[in-house]
């Protein structure tokens, strides 16, 4: 069978998301009011006609497991193929530890049997927390017509110094790969790769046999001499989120209509898990402007420059600005909030004041009562 197979890496890693990942892996962090981060990559895959997706999990994956379910929400509940959850039990047992994979290649090596059984010709590899809406079929076309062995999606927008950066030649070939740089340089790697199934299996087997585990070092850097690795430059909206500040900024950007149109273009809808919420109610007594509002909210107070997830309640007299409130947050009367990220079911009592700063938004842990 032709076409692509998707693999999403959803295991924990060192992270600056603090409170938000106390009970979650990256991919299941809520984003943009209606979604979890992993919804974006799943939707990208499904919109490109991908029917089989494997999600490699490890660590605190209960929230991910609950979120993905049978994959029905993304049309991935199928008798053959569809969504496969790949928890790394066997691996944890072999190493007699519940520790992390040392790298992507090690994670893949644990799933070699699964990789060998892939029935498509090409494989897309992605992290679970890449926020993007990219036509993967176009990437496949570019991959095939360029004759490259591997195509890596990258962007000219600079990121952190710990990211991976490529130098591309005129033909789009990756001629140098660097990371942990002094300053961002060249094209930043978005950790979204496309290659043939056969090559993937060969590379993983080869690395496993040499106890190599790092995708960027052992594959991107070392194999680029013998193989042709190309860059696919994507300069529209793409966010990889590693810190709270980053999470806050990339979220708030979505109040700009142009960016929102890029991320939520109707030709390639981002599919979220269904929910039962009614429409949101906006009372005449408050002022609700420049905000994204998911369903099921009850807004009686002032809401300005906010992202409200489902079922948020803002009572009369409360004043909430520049905040991100996760599902079920309750802000009682006359409370004041600025630059706060409130996790699920946070409860702010009447008259309380919580202030972060644009440069240092504060997060309130899930279920907290303030």
């Amino acid at each position: 069978m032709k076409g692509m197979h998707g693999i999403i890496f959803s295991y924990e890693k060192k992270s600056g998301l603090r409170e938000l990942i106390e009970h979650r892996v990256h991919g299941s962090v809520p984003f943009a009011g209606n979604y979890r981060m992993v919804d974006f990559m799943l939707s990208n895959m499904v919109n490109a006609g991908i029917t089989d997706v494997g999600v490699i999990m490890h660590g605190k994956c209960q929230s991910m497991l609950d979120h993905l379910g049978s994959g029905k929400s993304w049309d991935l509940s199928r008798n053959h193929g569809g969504l496969t959850l790949l928890p790394a039990f066997a691996y944890a047992e072999r190493r007699e530890t519940a520790g992390q994979f040392r790298g992507k290649v090690e994670a893949l090596a644990c799933m070699l049997e699964y990789l060998r059984d892939i029935r498509q010709d090409y494989v897309v590899l992605s992290d679970s927390d890449l926020i993007i809406n990219i036509p993967l079929d176009d990437v496949l076309q570019a991959h095939i017509s360029s004759g490259a062995d591997l195509t890596a999606v990258c962007t000219s927008a600079p990121g952190e110094s710990s990211d991976t950066y490529f130098t591309l030649d005129g033909s789009g070939r990756i001629v140098d790969t660097v990371y942990d740089v002094y300053a961002p340089q060249g094209y930043r790697c978005l950790n979204l790769f496309l290659l043939s199934k056969d090559l993937l299996v060969k590379l993983v087997e080869d690395c496993a046999a040499h106890n190599q585990y790092s995708f960027r070092h052992n594959i991107l850097q070392e194999k680029s001499k013998m193989l042709r690795f190309n860059g696919y430059v994507w300069d529209r909206y793409a966010a990889r989120i590693d810190t709270l500040k980053n999470y806050y900024d990339r979220s708030m950007e979505l109040l700009q209509p142009t960016l929102r149109d890029e991320l939520f273009c109707p030709q390639r809808p981002i599919l979220a898990k269904e929910n039962d919420d009614a429409s949101s109610y906006i009372d005449p007594s408050g002022r609700c402007v420049n905000s994204l509002i998911a369903d099921g909210c009850d807004i009686q107070g002032n809401v300005e420059n906010c992202i409200l997830f489902r079922g948020v309640r803002v009572e009369k007299g409360a004043d909430v600005r520049n905040c991100i409130l996760f599902k079920g947050t309750v802000v009682q009367s006359d409370a004041v909030m600025r630059h706060i990220i409130a996790d699920k079911y946070v409860h702010i009592q009447p008259g309380r004041t919580l202030m972060g700063h644009e440069n240092y938004p504060l997060a309130i842990a899930r279920d907290s009562v303030v």
Binding site: P269, E274, A278, P284, C288, N290
Partner: protein
């Protein structure tokens, strides 16, 4: 496959009184209250009442309803051995007929009901907005050992002559039934929701079918006949919000009730959830210069202008400087920059172009007696600067103006 109780939902015909809105769909598929469609109410009531087997009787363009209901998953009605089934008329070895009336529709599907061999059948209507626990009504039906239990509610005495009115004795038994009586003896109106002991109903349906003069209707034939025969008929008094949304005015009214805390219709209340099938959309966006008050907004909306006392369904757009008040905007409706929409219903994917004006407030009407809400049918486009007077109904052809 034995079930205690099966629900049969009369999803009805073309909804001729709603016709501008139902050009492409059966009445129960008409959107309501932002996220819902009318049929979500009886279906969710069934699920919440523990009834997992529902037959939906329809013969009018079932495709839209069919694909909306699908496997029944949003209502938890995707059950093995049960679930929700659309029941259109069909040809059998002995012939083929369209449904002649509500009773005939059930008669033609006796085979479906018998398959589940239930003790009781609940008969529901597809165009009522209400939250009701049918299991309570069923409990009462069993306690009183009635042949038929009819749910009723008190209506104002001066409106009673518009309803089917029940006279009830002290024990709650129905002693008399009068369809739209000029001089009502009671103010208990039938809500069109019945629980029958199935074997009783089956016998009456079969007898009714033999009677060529019958209209094969529950209200006109079956109920009066049972009463005449002295069957035990019990009234079950319902308290709470209930509205028949079979007309454009009542559909608009019910939407406005959502915005009125005293109406009893609170859809944010999660103790008796109403389920719906909705598409994936990003959250609603309320713009920097938007002014939204006493309104509901739904995912996918983009509101840049003024919206007051209105219900916005998903994917609705209200442009800059536009003004929307006392209106119901169905999924995908677009009000372009500077347009004005007042006291109106905008059907799915209808579009009000820049500077156009739809409807108007009753207090400003030249002839208040001739005032009414303005309605655009699904897909109807009103062009730039055009004026659509109150009480006008426009459909996609933009010809059939009726005022």
């Amino acid at each position: 496959m034995k079930k205690e109780c099966v629900a049969m939902l009369l999803a009805g015909g073309q909804g001729s009184r709603l016709y501008v809105l139902t050009g492409d769909m059966a009445k129960p598929a008409v959107p309501f209250g932002g996220t819902f469609r009318i049929i979500d109410f009886p279906l969710s009531n069934c699920t919440n009442s523990g009834i997992d087997t529902v037959g939906v009787l329809t013969q009018y363009r079932p495709l839209e309803l069919n694909s909306y209901i699908g496997s029944g998953q949003p209502w938890e009605l995707d059950r093995l051995g049960g679930g929700v089934h659309i029941l259109p008329p069909y040809q059998s070895a002995t012939g083929a007929t369209w449904y002649k009336g509500t009773a005939n529709a059930i008669y033609q599907n006796i085979g479906f009901v018998d398959y589940y061999d239930p003790e009781y059948v609940v008969i529901l209507s597809g165009d009522h907005i209400y939250k009701m626990d049918y299991s309570e009504m069923l409990r009462r039906h069993k306690e009183t050992e009635a042949a038929c239990t009819i749910s009723v509610m008190e209506v104002p005495w001066d409106e009673a002559s518009r309803f089917g009115i029940m006279s009830v004795n002290d024990g709650g038994q129905i002693t008399e039934f009068a369809e739209k009586p000029k001089e009502p003896k009671s103010n208990l109106a039938s809500m069109g929701i019945y629980v029958f002991t199935w074997q009783k109903l089956k016998a009456y349906l079969t007898a009714d079918e033999q009677d060529p003069s019958s209209q094969n209707d529950f209200g006109k034939n079956i109920i009066p006949q049972m009463l005449a025969d002295g069957e035990k008929m019990v009234a079950y008094q319902f308290e709470g919000y209930w509205k028949d949304v079979g007309t454009l005015d009542s559909l608009w009214d019910a939407n406005m009730d959502m915005l009125c805390p005293g109406s009893g219709l609170n859809l944010l209340d999660k103790t008796w959830p109403i389920y719906a099938r909705t598409p994936s959309c990003p959250p609603a966006f309320v713009g920097k210069y938007a002014d939204v008050g006493n309104s509901v907004v739904t995912k996918g909306c983009s509101v840049l202008g003024e919206v007051k006392n209105s219900v916005l369904s998903y994917d609705v757009t209200v442009g800059e400087g536009a003004h929307v008040s006392y209106s119901v905007l169905m999924p995908g409706a677009v009000v372009e920059d500077g347009a004005i929409v007042e006291y109106a219903i905008l059907g799915e994917k209808s579009r009000v172009s820049r500077g156009a004006r739809i409807g108007g407030a009753p207090e400003k009407a030249e002839n208040p007696d001739n005032w009414g809400i303005a309605v655009l049918g699904p897909g109807t486009v009103v062009s730039e600067g055009e004026q659509v007077a109150p009480k006008t109904l426009l459909d996609r052809t933009h010809g059939g103006v009726k005022s």
